[in-house]
């Protein structure tokens, strides 16, 4: 095939050029916008991931910090206060409430489904409404309750971890689609050409842990330079970044130039857009050799700030150190920072395990919010905390007043958001007395994605990518922005 390379490589871009052309007013000429879209069609994109279109309207948030609590933390023991359950201890869950909700293989064999009230005390903290009920597991977060927008009416479709995490990360239960961070990297580009636009940090937990697949931060069918870059907690922050002994940085540069030249020839011949992505990633890796050591070097961080994050902040791999790193990444223009905390899947021994899990995250997250606030970053950083589903009101396994377990529950769960244009200090959505069904203001995962994209300046229906003959988007064919959550 003898395409004009200009035409062929432009084809991908021209798609949303056409899709977003309708959103442009006449004020900006096509040529001017073309110059803003990034480099020319041939050759590597030397200055990092460039945005493909401007936001559709003025964004409130410029970056996202997503704290994903992998395993599904129990909402009844954290954010969804149900004191009336105390009177129902060990009573059977009424059929009318359960209403045919499917059970997992772990509890389908149980003969009874006894109600397990929370073993934790809740405190009501002042916020912009009648006060936020927050469990004793999060005293530090309680002190910043006026910043939090707590959503108690999230719901999802999947009941097990892999599909549920895939769903909340990519908008679809089946794998293969780009993750949230990749969509945002694709839409907004990187704020810092020396760092990846999507960074992932993983903290091991103390409770029951489930697997985390790398495709949760993969780029799906989007160009692969939008995938999440995982930074490790021990050894080199990024694998294979350092030059091996004997190779100097200047040597590396000459090698990259040579390989880049060969790739450019191949790109002309085969018109494979992946080549451009590959070269861009190599260039990014070269720049990261300088930027990552500067990022992880804490010598300039003042003592007061470090103390705020708690005693674990200097130990790499802890949640506290990840939170500090998240703040440093925010300062340096990274768009999507994802922190995974494993170990929230409490099928048994919930009170003890949750105490340890909560202690590891409570102070660091509150410190992160305060740190972002005082540096002028919180109003343009959207912080999101949540798991992939909730937990059942009935106990899995033996039930006592001080010990019980809970199974997965997709029909309702709780998350909170802060900063970045979210309405602070409110509690949104209500569940029924058993925290089993939603009675007011349900928010689906697609709605959450639509709202997040809206805060970042995108109409979720217009940020699309043509693949396999269809315009895909993060919210698939669903989702609506929830206006009550916006400031």
């Amino acid at each position: 095939m003898n395409h004009d390379p200009l035409v062929a490589l432009e084809m991908t871009r021209r798609r949303f050029f056409g899709a977003s052309a309708s959103s442009m007013s006449g004020a900006i000429g096509t040529t001017a916008l073309a110059s803003l879209l990034g480099n020319g069609p041939e050759g590597p994109r030397a200055t990092g991931t460039q945005p493909v279109a401007a936001p559709h309207f003025r964004p409130r948030a410029k970056r996202v910090i997503y704290l994903h609590m992998e395993g599904g933390p129990s909402q009844i023991d954290t954010w969804d206060h149900k004191p009336q359950l105390r009177d129902r201890f060990d009573q059977d869950l009424p059929e009318s409430v359960r209403n045919g909700q499917r059970l997992t293989g772990m509890t389908s064999g149980q003969s009874r489904f006894p109600v397990a009230p929370s073993a934790f005390r809740f405190t009501r903290y002042r916020n912009q409404q009648e006060g936020a009920w927050i469990s004793e597991l999060f005293p530090h977060l309680g002190s910043v309750a006026h910043e939090l927008c707590i959503v108690n009416s999230m719901h999802t479709d999947a009941i097990n971890h892999e599909p549920a995490i895939t769903f909340i990360q990519t908008g679809n239960q089946q794998p293969g689609r780009p993750s949230m961070g990749s969509w945002i990297s694709y839409g907004l580009g990187s704020g810092n050409a020396n760092l990846p636009s999507f960074v992932v940090l993983i903290t091991q937990g103390f409770g029951n842990m489930q697997a985390l697949s790398a495709r949760f931060w993969g780029s799906g069918f989007l160009p692969s330079d939008h995938q999440g870059c995982r930074m490790r907690s021990s050894g080199d922050p990024v694998l294979y970044l350092k030059d091996p002994p004997g190779v100097e940085r200047a040597d590396r540069r000459r090698m990259l130039d040579l390989v880049g030249a060969i790739n450019a020839v191949e790109a002309k011949r085969s018109l494979d857009p992946e080549l451009a992505a590959r070269v861009a990633q190599q260039e990014m890796a070269f720049r990261m050799q300088m930027s990552v050591p500067e990022l992880t070097d804490l010598t300039n961080e003042d003592e007061g700030t470090l103390e705020m994050y708690g005693p674990e902040v200097r130990k790499p791999g802890t949640f506290a150190s990840s939170c500090l790193l998240a703040r440093r990444l925010s300062e340096r223009g990274v768009r999507f920072i994802q922190l995974y905390m494993r170990g929230w899947d409490q099928h048994g021994n919930l009170p003890n395990e949750m105490r340890t899990q909560a202690k590891a995250i409570d102070q660091p997250i509150a410190a992160l919010l305060k740190d972002l606030r005082r540096r002028g970053l919180l109003d343009e950083t959207l912080v999101l905390w949540g798991g992939e589903f909730g937990r059942t009101v009935y106990s899995q396994g033996a039930l006592t007043r001080t010990n019980y377990g809970r199974d997965h529950h997709p029909r309702c769960y709780s998350i909170w958001m802060a900063g970045g244009g979210i309405r602070p200090g409110i509690t949104y959505g209500k569940t029924d007395d058993f925290s089993y069904n939603i009675v007011e203001n349900p928010v689906s995962v697609h709605d959450l994605h639509a709202t997040m994209l809206h805060l970042l300046g995108f109409d979720h229906e217009r940020l699309t990518y043509r693949h396999m003959g269809r315009d895909f988007r993060l919210t698939d064919v669903f989702g609506r922005v929830v206006p009550d959550l916006l400031a």
Binding site: R124, G191, T402
Partner: protein, 514 residues
């Protein structure tokens, strides 16, 4: 302090004092008029008026005494006026007594004295209110022969003098920083004494030797030089103006009289007026490419508008004033949001920012800017958000912030701005959101009782009352509005800031429970 009614009484002094003045003149007219016209004196009228005048004099004196105590007036002039006023009243009382006598002689003499003293007291009072040269000013030139003040109008005698030519040059290019309001480097250049006194670095001029004068030396330095005066971005003297100054100094820096060879300069270029209302064109692609080649993030803020979001995060450490100016000059009208956090810029870059008509958000966190630089931004019409955390701005920045027309939010954590200055800023601009890192802590409204069957970690507190009376951080009395829950107990603090200190290290601040 004083009761408001007493203060009011003091302020009636200007009302009361006119009565004795007018009355004595009237009495004098009656008395001396009768004397001159050889008529009988209207003794009853004169006495009545004299007593009335004396009583009003007492009222004027008392009210004047109160007014003097109010503190708005002080000094020798007040003292003189006070004693002459009291003397007037005293003499007036005696005169009133004498006015009943058949023998008019003593009364007439005393009346004359009283008039004189009253007139002088009144004149001193007038000086207090209107200034000592109030009467003399219109005829001052006739009285003394040369003017004290520099007249704004051109008169032929102005040309070629210090006052006519040299002083306006210094006024235009130097006095804004070296004058009555500010004395940068300890130097003022607005009066003769100040110029001759010099500043911290030494005398500003050497009369007779222009080349050795620091003033001239600094004007000849290149614009980028740190010691250059006036500094870049400020109004600059033209070549003729510098020549005039040199000429004047070489002639011995005379402050009076003409100097040969200095005339009004003709090459002064008026300072360009920044027109913020001109429409904004889209930025040129070359400018954007230049920025991107330097790894600066450039993006349209919104589709359909030309405003740009420009962020220097990637190369913050290597960006200095010169580079920032070079890269931002071509897009100066289009910059909507500018992120320069952690860049190596300082105040020298500010004059460029003063021209950014579209600038809505400016992030200068952890840069080298100070209060002087921020002063340049006072006129920006659209600046809503300003991040100055971790900079060296101090209390002087507060006045600039209060003057900014569109400012809605400012971040001042880790700066040198003091608490008193912040209070002042809050008073001047109550709608401005100020973030100092002392964010409010959400206080506890209610704690539910422990779940039945669970062993509580600590005894349940009685209601929500804090268990302590004194704040563990400050030691002062607890305000029950500010409480947190710690280890199962309700702990009270004196203010909203102490909980944050407490959280940093709870073990350091033991709670003294009742």
């Amino acid at each position: 302090m004083t009761s408001p009614w007493i203060e009011l009484a003091g302020r009636l002094h200007p009302a009361f004092l006119h009565l004795p003045i007018g009355l004595w003149v009237g009495i004098a007219a009656l008395e001396y008029g009768a004397m001159l016209l050889r008529r009988d004196v209207a003794r009853g009228a004169v006495s009545t008026l004299a007593w009335l005048s004396a009583l009003c004099g007492i009222a004027a004196g008392v009210s004047g005494w109160i007014l003097a105590g109010s503190g708005d007036y002080a000094g020798d002039l007040v003292e003189s006026h006070k004693w002459y006023g009291i003397a007037t009243t005293a003499l007036g009382l005696v005169a009133a007594v004498l006015s009943h006598r058949t023998a008019r002689g003593p009364f007439r003499i005393l009346l004359l004295v009283t008039l004189g003293v009253c007139g002088w007291a009144g004149h001193l009072g007038g000086n207090l209110t209107h200034g000592e040269d109030f009467l003399a000013k219109p005829i001052a030139r006739i009285l003394k022969g040369d003017p004290e003040v520099h007249e704004a109008e051109e008169t032929p005698s102005d040309l070629s003098t210090y006052a006519g030519v040299v002083a306006p040059i210094l006024e235009r290019t130097c006095v804004s920083c070296h004058g009555e309001q500010k004395q940068k480097g300890g130097l003022a250049l607005h009066t003769r004494d100040a110029i001759l006194a010099g500043g911290d670095t030494g005398p500003s001029i050497e009369p007779g030797n222009a080349k050795a004068s620091l003033l001239i030396e600094r004007m000849h330095l290149p614009l980028e030089d740190e010691d250059r005066m006036p500094p870049e971005g400020k109004p600059q003297p033209s070549a003729q103006e510098i020549a005039i100054l040199e000429q004047w100094i070489a002639a011995g820096a005379p402050f009076e009289g003409k100097v040969a060879g200095i005339d009004k300069p003709t090459d002064v270029v008026a300072e360009p007026v920044i027109d913020h209302s001109a429409p904004v064109e889209p930025a040129s692609s070359e400018a954007i490419a230049a920025l991107r080649n330097n790894l600066v993030h450039v993006q349209l803020v919104t589709n359909g508008a030309p405003q740009l979001w420009i962020d220097f995060s990637a190369t913050a450490a290597t960006v200095d004033d010169a580079m920032a100016r070079k890269l931002l000059e071509p897009v100066v009208r289009q910059v909507g949001e500018l992120g320069l956090a952690r860049a190596a810029v300082n105040d020298k870059v500010m004059p460029l920012f003063a021209r950014m008509s579209s600038l809505r958000r400016l992030d200068l966190r952890q840069t080298g800017v100070g209060s002087d630089g921020i002063e340049e931004l006072a006129q920006l019409p659209k600046l809503e958000e300003l991040v100055l955390a971790q900079t060296k701005v101090d209390d002087a920045v507060v006045d600039t912030l209060a003057a900014m027309p569109a400012l809605q939010r400012v971040y001042l954590w880790n700066t040198k701005v003091s608490g008193e200055a912040l209070i002042r800023l809050r008073q001047q601009k109550p709608t401005l959101r100020i973030e100092t890192g002392e964010a409010a802590t959400a206080s506890v409204l209610e704690i539910e009782p422990p779940p039945p069957g669970t062993a509580p970690a600590a005894p349940a507190p009685a209601g929500l009352q804090p268990v302590n009376d004194t704040c563990p951080v400050s030691g002062t009395a607890v305000d029950p509005k500010f409480t947190i829950v710690h280890e199962g107990k309700v702990v009270g603090f004196c203010c909203p800031n102490c909980p944050k200190t407490f959280w940093t290290d709870p073990a350091k601040y033991p709670v003294k429970a009742r």
